[in-house]
Each structure stands twice: as C-alpha cells, then as structure tokens.
Symmetry: C2
Subunit: 382 residues, 2 copies
C-alpha cells in the first residue's frame, strides 16, 4: 500500500510508539494467556502486568486513591456507568453539546424506561467554551443529578474547562462523569479529587495503546450493577457477581495482550512526559490549522482552546463528496457526523457534518506536505 498521511488520530492514534508494537508481539508470543493470580507462572505474570498497568494509569492521573476498571471499549465503560448510576425519574442529566453517541444514544435508550430530562450545558457558539456562570444558573434552576462532559470534543477538539464545570456541579451534589477519550495522556489532569466520580479512558486513542483495552477510574467501590455477567476466576461458587472491584465489572477473559500494549504506551507517556507530548501535538495542531486556514475554499471551525482535532467544510463539496478525493490522494481523515450529531447541531453543520482531520504525536513533515498538495489539488479543481 502507498504511504498514507494519517490524520484520523481521533478514531485511533496511528502509528503507536515502537515500544508498544514490541510489547504486543513479545507478550503475545511469551505470555498471551488468561490471567489468574497464583494458578501458574504464565497466568501470574499476566496478572502482574495487569496490576502494574492499573498502577501506571493511576500514576498518570495522579490518583493512587482510586481504582481502575478495565473494559474492552470506552463505550462499554460509559454503558456500565450510565446504566449503573440508575438515573431517577424526572432527574436532570446535563451533557455538553459535544457528547458522543456512546453517551447520547445510551441516555436516549434509558429515557425510554425512566423519563428524565436531558439538558445541554450552556456553551459559546463562537469560542465553543462552556459558560460556567450560565451553567451555575442552569444548575440553580434545575438541580443536576449528573453531569457528563467530554474533556476534548471528538469533532472540534474544543477543550472543556472540566475542573471548573465539575467544581460547580459538585456544589449541587451532582455525579460527575468525565469522558477522557480524546485527552487522557495528552492533557495533564489530576483525578484524585472527589469532583471526578467516574473518568473514562480509551487505550487506543490519546493513550497510544492498542485497540481492545479501555476502562474507567473511580473511587466508588462497587455500587454499579455490572452489565456483563459471567465467570470471574474468583468466587466461582457464588452465583452473584463478586462485589470486589475491579473484577465485578470484568467478567470473561481479559485481553492480557492489549493490556501489555497499554502498559508499554503508558510507560512511554510517563517517560516522555505528558507536557512534552502536549506541546508536540499542539505544534502539529497549529500546523494543521495553518494549512487548512490558507485555503479560501475551506471554512475551519476553530474553538478558542482546542487540541488534536480540527473540523472544516469545503466550498462546493459535501463532506462525503470530499471523501473519495482525499482518500484517492492517500489522506486518512473522517467525514460526516463522527458519531456526535449533537455537536453538529450546535455548530450548524447538521446533518451533513464536517470533514475532520486529527493529528497525533507522530505526524511528519511529509504528512503535512501530502495534505497541502491534496488541498491544493481540490482548490484548483473546485
């Protein structure tokens, strides 16, 4: 296959650090078995790597007071949390205008059984910033049962002032749920505070790990009902799921190889430094905006504070039409709604969506040159 200029890092970061590929291959070949403490040496080693990966994640988020639950996808984590907090009838559920279908479809589903209010948090249409004073008034008017916020929008890259938001909502006793899929390991965040009830991460995105391993961080020990029930390797005679966390939410075989890959990627992040990675991504982000902004036929949606992801529209081309042209020119990107129709309603780009480019730590000069060439070609031919 020809060289691809990869600007689809918001879906999955690619490539990964070399150490991740090496860890995946080495672990799969030497120890890719089911975990299980004290059963045999290979499974004990797999357990040890899993435990150490949890510790690395807690260290990354400065919250050794909390626990890591592994799930296969961030979507699964969001489902466990949103179903598990048992939203009561008539409760007020606040979401940012940028939430993903993992959140909005799950709320829509739950709302069929229990009628509650889904309310959008106030945000500025030009800067994409949350309006904390307005939000405080929203909370005063309708007390929040829970607040769900993407730290970084997967459509516009807008960085949400999540600490200010959660400090405000905690005054009203809200359960705060942070979606860190587009920010974990990229923006330094201290999760040790009680304002973060649940924080969801995706291993394969800004954590630079493999597909197949995600999870959430919490200090609520076991008050959610598991949504996947089955074997846990412990307490097997008990026909209820064990109350012990994390195993309560981890029925079935763990993907130990993916965990070993995440172990390597989080080690790489800690060694490289979150702020070093952030600076490099911001350089790539700025370069992307500069290139897109240099074309008169492109409208860039540019939040006041953003990272990683940039959405735009092309004159004379629907987002889906631009797809074939860019794909033919070996540019990897996404067009459409990016599983976040709400964000496009906010932005006035619903239902056709936008063309989304997203950078990572590893984008090269050649990637940007290829993108520039492709955009020139489109401008000349439009």
């Amino acid at each position: 296959m020809d060289r691809i200029a990869y600007f689809d890092n918001a879906a999955t970061t690619f490539p990964k650090p070399e150490c991740v590929y090496q860890a995946l291959d080495e672990f799969a070949r030497s120890c890719g078995v089911s975990l299980g403490r004290g059963q045999h040496k290979l499974s004990s080693k797999a357990s040890y790597i899993a435990d150490e990966t949890r510790e690395l994640l807690l260290s990354l988020f400065h919250c050794t007071n909390k626990k890591v639950v592994f799930t296969n996808t961030a979507t699964e984590a969001i489902n466990i949390i949103l179903k598990g907090i048992k939203i009561p009838v008539n409760a007020n559920v606040y979401i940012t205008p940028f939430e993903h279908n993992a959140v909005t479809r799950t709320l829509h589903y739950l709302n069929k059984f229990t009628s509650f209010n889904i309310i959008e948090l106030s945000a500025n249409k030009t800067t994409y910033e949350l309006q904390i004073e307005d939000i405080d008034r929203q909370f005063k008017d309708k007390k929040p049962f829970c607040v769900i916020a993407s730290h970084v929008s997967n459509v516009f890259g807008a960085i949400c002032s999540i600490e200010k938001l959660f400090l405000t909502s905690k005054k009203y006793g809200a359960i705060n749920i942070a979606d860190l899929c587009q920010s974990s390991g990229l923006i330094d965040l201290n999760l040790s505070s009680t304002i973060f009830d649940y924080a969801v991460f995706a291993g394969h995105k800004t954590l630079y790990g493999p597909l197949g391993i995600s999870g959430f961080i919490t200090d609520f020990p076991n008050d959610l009902e598991p949504i996947i029930i089955g074997g846990t390797g412990i307490e097997s005679a008990n026909q209820d799921m064990p109350s012990e966390i994390p195993i309560r939410y981890e029925a079935g075989s763990h993907n130990t190889t993916a965990i070993a890959g995440l172990h390597a990627s989080v080690e790489w992040i800690l060694k490289t430094g979150v702020n070093v990675i952030y600076k490099q991504e911001m350089r790539n982000h700025k370069r992307l905006i500069d290139i897109l902004g240099s074309y008169e036929n492109i409208t860039v949606y540019n939040p006041k504070l953003s990272v990683g992801v940039v959405s735009c529209s092309f004159d004379n081309y629907a987002p889906d039409e631009i797809g074939q042209v860019l794909s033919n020119m070996n540019i990897a990107f996404r067009s459409g709604l990016h599983c976040a129709p709400l964000a496009h309603k906010f932005n006035g780009t619903f239902p056709s969506g936008t063309v989304r480019f997203s950078v990572g730590y590893f984008n090269t000069d050649e990637d940007f040159d290829m993108l520039d060439d492709a955009l020139s070609y489109i401008e000349e031919n439009s």
Copy 2:
C-alpha cells in the same frame, strides 16, 4: 522465564500458530486503525479484513446462510443472547449440567427480575452423556423455552451430542443456544441448520486466535436488544441503535488487530483441516489421560467421549494445594471450579473442584515429559 509445559489450553490456547503472531504484528504496524467503509484506505482495509473474517468463520461452520456478530468476549455474546431472547415468566430454561458461569450467573441474574425455571438436562453420571430419551420426556413434561448447551465441557472435556439434543428440543419449539467455546474449529460442526439459533465462539480458545475477539453466529437478523449502546459509524443521526446486523451489536471501536489475528487463525484451521487438528488433539488428549491414569494417587474423571480437557483429583492434596507444587515445576494448568460450579456438583467434586489439564494442537513431547516428571515427584512425596 523457564520453559513452561502449557496445559491450560481450555483458558486460552497457547502458543498460537506462527501465522497468527505475524498477522497481529503486521496488521498492528501497517493498518491497526478503526474500521469504516470508504472513509480512507486504511480504515477500508480494516473493514475488508473484518468482512473476510466473518466469511471465513461462516465457511468454517458451513453456514453461509447465517451472520457473524463480533463481540469482545464470548461472555458478552452469551449476555447479549440470554438477555435478548427475553425469557418469559414461568418459562422452562434447560441447561446441561456443565454450563459455565457466563450462562448460570446470567440466568441467576435474570431470574431476579423474571421468575422462570432453570432445569438441568438429564445426563449419565458415569459416561457424562446426555440422556436424550430422558430429555425428551423432560421436554414433554415441561415444554422448553430455550436450551443452552456447551458443546464441550470446559471442566471434563465431555462432548455433548448437541445435534441430537437440539433436534429434540426444536420439536418443542425451543430456542437453541450452543456454546462452542471449547469446540469451534476443533470439532467439525455444520451450523447451517435451523436447529442452531445462536452459536457462540471464543477466538482465543480452540479457534487459536488472539484474546479480544469472540462472537456469535445466528440467522435472526435483529431481534435482540443490544446491551452495549453507542457509536456505530453509520446512521449517526439516529439516536436508536441501527437495526442492521451485525453493527447493531457492535457499538464502539472494533478490535481490528484482534480480528486480523483471528483471520489468520481461521485460515490456518481451514488450511490444516479441522479433522487433522482434531486427530492431533485427540492424540495429545489420550497421552494426557494415559499419563494421569498411570498414577495410583490420581483419580481421572474420564467421560466416554471427550476432547481437550481432563479433570482429576490427587490423593492427599486439595486441588488448590497441588497448585503451588505444579506451578513450581513449571506446569501450567488450573485448579478449582473453573467457573463451572454446576459441573462439579454433577461430578461430586464441589466445592473444592478438580485439577484441570487441557491440551492443544501444539503440545510437545517435552511438555508431556515435564508433566510426567512433576507427577512422579508428587507421588513420591505424598
């Protein structure tokens, strides 16, 4: 780490065929991104590999008339099916005495909300065979709503006459659910018949694929309620899950790398031949039984027809006690209940369980010699 004689293939087969490791590494490095038809070349390639893997599985099970749904674990697949078929009040749910906690815990959970009858199918205590005539009488007496059967017991390796069972239950209109975790790719099975409503497979067990990819095969297009709700990459404006199968049950990022590994392993099975693999595993199985049977301090539980898995008990040692000794001698195995307490109640080995050894295609002479040496040591010192 020292060489390990691996007899824990019922948990995860290990090692995998070399082509699987190569496929995992190559795919992760060249194309380990999220799938998505027609978005860009890498994601299109990932989609293509996923589609082809579904076709290979349908070919393996001789059922191109059916569909493959991918899940992250077989436990997730069993949860989707058991929750999705909506077992009515007072229904009769039949299970074999060998079902895993993925089945029994899920039924126990559902039974808290809807009271139904969980009935064990009649089986012979000596041969571990299902008693089809008795079962027919059971069905006549209490009409089956559904029947759930492990094709091969994960504790005793007992092969269940699943076609005879499902032909019988289908006469009474039952929904038939096959758990093929310990048999898929090992026992040639034709799933094209309507007697198989749902068949669950685990990629990392007898299919010799990586951890992180499992699923089920069905011809029921979309009548189950999804248990994990979220982004699907298609129909994003729709706040309900799409009705299209398989995507209805596959919210969130697919583990495309694991799918590429499963692609390689199923190709390897088809190329090697299911019956060739079966014969090799039966040779290893017989060798295991012969070695275990040669020690007077070991009681082997030996079903009339079995494959892969052998359970036993040691005189003077509880299963958990034997663990440390065998582990120190670099034998990989499992002791205890193996997430199947019911099977041990059937066998009279509840609650302490058994010591379980399970072979794979790749066990070597050295593995068996190491096991023999370890068992000699235990006999001499007990």
